[in-house]
């Protein structure tokens, strides 16, 4: 043993230009054209919806009735035509998107926060905690989520807040399951034990080491949940339990338009296309994000 020499291997000095983390993710995200399309459509819809007040007047265009102008076909003045009360269909689709997106995102916030708390507690502590929490989740999971949302709305009354709450609650079981299963597989890995050997606390291990590693599947679930809630709110409004008239909403617009489907199909077509586009772009984007953010898939 000659312990006198300390620097064992002299490190060669290399100058390497480093790309920042977000830049790397962006480069890989760009590579998949379908995903890029999804993101562009999502962003376009989001800006159109968020900035609606800049180029549309909610009161006059989307709410005020103008019976003389009813059932107009698409024209330069009314891009998507007008509905049975003479309201501008384009304005209603745009403002309907506001509701859909707001509800979708709020639902995710409710279900993700509750679901990840429940899922991570269950997975990390295991045993009895896990059993009690997950059996309760199983009970919820046994009820179809739309049905559960309907039941909760009819119990709580139909308002935007109750709608978000009930849809959020009905998504908690799925979310907590995803979180739990990904955490279960990660917490057994050796680097978690290495963290413990470094004196890292439980809360820090969960937040900094386990959850970010579980981000891939959770992120996909998040975008899918947004997409699914857009559909759920539309279907709830379609059967009259969601947003009620005169507030524009894609589902209730479809429901109204179905009576005139034969003569004025454009009234059903535009909100329908809006639903399909938003759901599809969100799903595509989620997939791409997962691939781009996983450092293990990097080449």
């Amino acid at each position: 043993m000659n312990g006198a020499r300390v620097s064992v291997v002299t490190a060669p000095k290399i100058k390497v230009k480093k790309k920042s983390q977000s830049r790397v993710i962006w480069t890989r995200f760009k590579r998949n054209k379908l995903v890029l399309l999804g993101m562009m459509v999502s962003i376009l819809m989001l800006t159109a919806v968020l900035g609606a007040d800049l180029y549309l007047n909610y009161e006059t265009k989307a709410l005020d009735q103008n019976i003389r102008n009813r059932f107009q076909p698409p024209s330069s003045e009314h891009w998507f035509g007008t509905d049975q009360y003479g309201r501008d269909e384009f304005a209603r689709v745009i403002y309907g998107g506001r509701i859909s997106m707001f509800v979708g995102i709020a639902t995710v916030i409710v279900s993700l926060s509750m679901g990840s708390i429940i899922g991570s507690l269950a997975a990390y502590y295991g045993g009895r905690v896990d059993n009690i929490l997950m059996r309760v989740m199983d009970v919820f999971l046994a009820i179809p989520s739309t049905l559960l949302a309907i039941a909760l709305i009819s119990a709580l009354g139909s308002s935007l807040f109750n709608l978000i709450l009930s849809m959020g609650i009905s998504q908690i079981p799925r979310m907590s399951r995803i979180v739990r299963s990904s955490i279960m597989s990660i917490k057994e890995m050796e680097f978690i034990e290495a963290c413990r050997a470094c004196g890292t606390s439980d809360a820090r291990i969960i937040c900094r080491h386990i959850l970010p590693n579980a981000m891939g599947p959770i992120l996909v679930q998040v975008t899918q949940t947004v997409a699914r809630s857009v559909i759920t709110i539309a279907s709830l409004s379609f059967i009259g339990l969601g947003i009620s008239e005169p507030t524009p909403e894609w589902g209730s617009m479809l429901s109204e338009a179905k009576n005139q489907m034969r003569y004025y199909p454009h009234l059903a077509m535009f909100p329908g296309i809006a639903i399909v586009l938003s759901v599809m772009s969100l799903t595509l984007m989620g997939d791409g994000l997962r691939d781009a953010m996983d450092p293990r898939l990097r080449n």
Binding site: M1, G3, R5, V6, S7, V8, V9, T10, A11, P12, K13, I14, K15, V16, K18, G127, M189, E190, F191, E193, A194, C195, R196, A197, C198, G199, T200, S201, R204, R208, H209, P212, N213, M215, P295, R296, R298
Partner: protein
């Protein structure tokens, strides 16, 4: 010199649904500041369990210390609160894991991972000072600090193990537990990594518990050796005591018989026949009795005690030596008559 680590009669069991597995059965060992102790033994002998009980990281709900004490610079680690224990892990004692491929978090850059231990145990340090220390640690293990923003998958196995070593030594711990640090690496890298560990250890005067099943590594690095079999230390002493002595525990002899010898030409190695006893059903006598080439009647019935042999530091747990010692004593008595 003061004792840094002193383990007294440690018993650990793993409670499973079917059986109680007696993993450690009365381990006693001690380690002085700056000393290196090699723990040698075959798979399942309880080497890693010793390291985990020192860090108190035995698997919850299954692993329990049933008896014994672990003193770390005068503190009994079996009685310290969880918070105190956490403050000590990584700061006063740290561990190097055998598989560097899985011991690093794949989604944080290696610099961040070295930084984390430093931040955890030095909450008052400024960010720049910590960054400086990270760079310093990386250069110390021979990796250019420009690579601190890289992720674990961009490093080779040997480099990852260096990072793990940098994390383990970042807070200059007084005790380093190295659990087979070179097992997952190929032989050329093994030598480099061992040298890194050894040089750094001497530089910051850390005591080390080196867990391995490679006697060659022990001879290179360690001051003293403990051979562990079925949760018991059956032989301990300085490296000289064990490597230069012809009189050894039959199991230790078996271990030496299983390594290739460059001097004596023999067509085959002589492995130890049989398997270790089931740790759930340990025999009442010597645990090695079944496989021992020199077994006697007494071996199956009675557990041997540790007997001092030769120089003061060499201890062997075998009836062979108590018997021969008794015979020596008888001979002495006879000749004196």
């Amino acid at each position: 010199m003061s004792k840094l680590l002193d383990i007294n009669d440690l018993h650990v069991i793993y409670k499973t649904d079917e059986d109680n597995i007696y993993a450690l059965n009365g381990i006693s060992l001690s380690l002085e500041e700056g000393e290196t102790l090699g723990l040698v033994g075959e798979t399942g002998a309880g080497k890693t369990t010793i390291a985990l009980s020192i860090l108190r990281l035995l698997p919850e709900k299954t692993g329990f210390v049933t008896k014994g004490e672990i003193f770390f610079s005068g503190m009994d680690l079996t009685k310290v609160t969880d918070a105190d224990m956490r403050a000590m892990r990584g700061n006063d004692m740290s561990m190097i894991f055998s598989d560097p491929m899985s011991a690093l978090n794949p989604i944080h850059s290696v610099g961040d991972q070295i930084k984390e231990v430093l931040v955890l145990h030095n909450p008052n340090l400024k960010n720049e000072e910590i960054d400086k220390k990270v760079d310093e640690m990386m250069e110390m293990v021979g990796i250019p600090s420009e690579r601190k923003t890289d992720y674990p998958h961009q490093f080779s196995g040997g480099m990852k193990q260096r990072i793990v070593i940098a994390i383990a030594l970042a807070c200059r711990p007084r005790l380093l537990l190295a659990d087979e640090p070179t097992t997952a690496l190929d032989v050329t890298i093994q030598a480099q990594v061992l040298k890194t560990i050894n040089d750094l250890k001497e530089k910051i005067n850390t005591a080390m518990l080196l867990i391995t099943h490679d006697l060659g590594v022990v001879a290179q690095v360690c001051n003293s050796v403990a051979v562990i079999y079925a949760g018991e230390i059956i032989e301990s002493g300085t490296v000289r005591d064990i490597f230069d002595n012809e009189e050894r525990h039959p199991y230790t002899n078996g271990l030496f018989g299983s390594i290739p010898d460059l001097v004596n030409k023999s067509p085959r190695l002589t492995p130890i026949e049989g398997l270790m006893p089931d740790p759930a059903k340990l025999p009442p006598g010597c645990a090695f009795e079944e496989r021992c080439p020199r077994r006697m009647e007494i071996c199956a019935a009675q557990k041997p005690d540790a007997i001092g042999y030769g120089s003061g530091s060499h201890f062997i747990k075998c009836h062979l030596f108590s018997v021969s010692k008794a015979r020596d004593r008888d001979m002495e008595v006879l000749s004196s008559r």
